[in-house]
């Protein structure tokens, strides 16, 4: 079984602050991390390989420094990694196109896994776009994946119902964060992962011509979070009464 996992280098949203002077988010210096839900996709890939055999390859777009961020995925148990160089301009379609071409270059794939969305932009586009470019079946929001030799059965979580889908290979599956708890590699695994290959591929090596964005970001503004921030202090009964009175004044009751 050949499994390819798309793992995004995403901005660590918990480190993003809003500049009070400009009202814009400060993105400079915000660390990049492998998107949480993509880690669940890597974990799921490893579990499928443990059951069915095969190989797990991760694919990431990023600068050369991103290798350090990919190593933990190899330590978790992925066999190989691909790092595609960052394009000058990017939008959802460019990212999906680059990943699709890299997936084709890895070749011979059965299952492509990715997270339902990335923690920073949460657009959820890349999985279905890759499936669209490759023109293969897709299953999104997977909460359970049962892989067999020639097919896979997936539970798709739609919040109010579960849709059970069966597909042969190749298939693209996007997973929810709830599908599993990604393992923490031990020291031994971390050391061994140093020997695993990280292939660095340039955009030219994927044989793609010029990529022009179909969507452009024209501005980003911070969302104002003006709250009263009043902390009521004192004995429990006092603060509770004060809060009840305040809520009454606010017209809640």
């Amino acid at each position: 079984m050949n499994i390819i996992v798309c793992a995004k280098l995403a901005a660590d949203v918990s480190e993003i602050t809003i500049d009070p002077a400009t009202g814009k988010p400060v993105l400079q210096g915000v660390p990049k991390i492998i998107s949480d839900i993509d880690k669940s996709a890597v974990e799921e890939a490893i579990r499928i390989r443990e059951k069915c055999g095969g190989k797990v390859t991760t694919v990431t777009i990023g600068p050369p420094e991103a290798k350090e961020k990919i190593k933990p995925l190899l330590a978790m148990g992925a066999d190989e990694a691909v790092l595609i160089s960052k394009p000058e301009k990017e939008d959802y379609s460019i990212v999906a196109k680059l990943l699709s071409e890299a997936i084709k270059k890895v070749g011979n794939y059965d299952i492509i896994l990715c997270g339902e969305a990335s923690i920073d932009l949460f657009s959820g586009q890349v999985g279905p776009q890759i499936a669209g470019y490759l023109n293969i079946p897709q299953v999104t929001y997977a909460q359970v994946i049962i892989a067999e030799e020639k097919k896979v059965i997936v539970e798709r979580n739609l919040s109010d119902k579960v849709v059970v889908i069966e597909s042969t290979f190749p298939v693209l599956i996007s997973v929810t964060k709830e599908i599993n708890k990604p393992r923490l590699p031990n020291l031994m695994q971390i050391m061994q992962s140093a020997k695993k290959p990280i292939h660095e591929w340039s955009i030219e090596s994927l044989g793609i011509g010029e990529l022009s964005p179909k969507v452009e970001v024209v501005g980003i503004d911070g969302v104002p979070t003006e709250r009263k921030n009043i902390i009521l202090e004192g004995e429990v009964e006092e603060t509770a009464t004060e809060l009840a009175e305040t809520l009454a004044k606010e017209g809640i009751f």
Binding site: Q129, N135, V164, I165, K214, V223, V236, T241, L247, I252
Partner: protein, 319 residues
């Protein structure tokens, strides 16, 4: 032509609200699509709400599937020269739109909370960074595909006198190597956090499932019976069903009053409740980030604060 499609009726009407306005601005027409075996009355209703043309795409498919639905929409987009395609942003719409965009090699933006024309350019806004920022994006492609979440726009007024064209046609999508085996309804109560006016919400500060009772008493006193929760309570501990789950990957709520009990206030939780009118936080850690997102905070053990608050509110109400 502006095409609108959602498999959710209310969402379709909201899309018509926005679609109609955009169309009127540039003297364009609105085409609404129903996939499945709908009848004339359903189509007529979409016309009354602003559609000029309704295409009922008849298929023998029993369930939604993005692959086949994308093929059907692609045929309709080509047939009627649609430039702007607005799709309802539930989980089906969110997997349909990007697939369609890739099949057609065109631009797509999901979860647009605002849509406008700036000059010639279709400009949209979407929330990024877990709700910390809003990104404005412009399409550079001839065909623009966007998804729109529920309640982003108002349905237009209904006008029974409006007339339009209803076209029934059967479509044969390509066949794909995947199929729906079954659909299971998930068990859920009658909770609808998205419409609730008062929500009392719990997080990992709660020690056991039975203690939810404390919050229910507070909620009942406030005459709002709605209990919300953070992700771990629904996803990991499963003390409450997923329809109570609030946040980035849960429900987005905007009640008059949101009381967060034992919730730390990570940005992914805030993303779901930041539009609440008044936010109250009860947490024993004075450094908890929830206090930065709250109007009123009480630093203390929820096991003493919540019952005291219930009692104080009862007294306040009867005074």
């Amino acid at each position: 032509m502006i095409l609108i499609y959602s498999d959710n009726k209310n969402n379709s009407l909201e899309l018509l609200g926005k679609g109609r306005k955009l169309a009127d601005q540039v003297k364009n027409r609105v085409l609404a699509v129903i996939i499945g075996n709908a009848g004339e009355p359903e189509a007529k209703e979409l016309i009354a709400f602003g559609a000029d043309t309704v295409v009922i795409a008849e298929t023998d498919m029993e369930h939604f599937k993005a692959e086949e639905y994308a093929d059907i929409l692609q045929s309709i987009i080509n047939e009627y020269n649609c430039e702007t395609v607005m799709i309802g942003s539930n989980k089906n719409g969110k997997e349909l739109a990007p697939r369609l965009a890739a099949r057609m090699e065109t631009g797509c933006v999901t979860d647009c909370i605002n849509v406008s024309l700036e000059g010639e350019k279709l400009t949209v806004e979407r929330i990024v960074f877990s709700g910390a920022a809003i990104s404005r994006q412009q399409f550079a492609s001839d065909i623009q595909i966007l998804t729109i979440p529920p309640k982003a726009f108002y349905p237009p007024p209904k006008d029974e006198a409006r007339t339009g064209e209803v076209i029934k046609k059967s479509y044969q999508p390509n066949s794909y190597a995947s199929k729906v085996l079954r659909v299971q309804e998930m068990k859920s109560g009658d909770v609808n956090v998205e419409d609730a006016e008062i929500i009392v919400s719990c997080g990992r500060g709660l020690k056991k499932k039975e203690d939810i009772r404390l919050l229910e008493e507070l909620a009942e006193t406030l005459r709002g019976n709605t209990i919300g929760c953070s992700r771990p309570i629904a996803a990991d501990l499963k003390w409450l069903s997923e329809d109570h789950w609030i946040g980035l990957s849960g429900h987005k709520v905007k009640p008059k009053l949101y009381i967060a009990c034992g919730i730390s206030g990570q940005i992914q939780h805030i993303a779901g409740m930041r539009d609440s009118a008044i936010i109250v936080a009860i947490n024993r850690d004075s450094e908890a980030p929830i206090f930065k997102s709250a109007d009123y905070g009480i630093v203390g053990d929820l096991y003493t604060v919540v019952p005291a608050l219930t009692k104080a509110i009862k007294e306040e109400m009867s005074s």
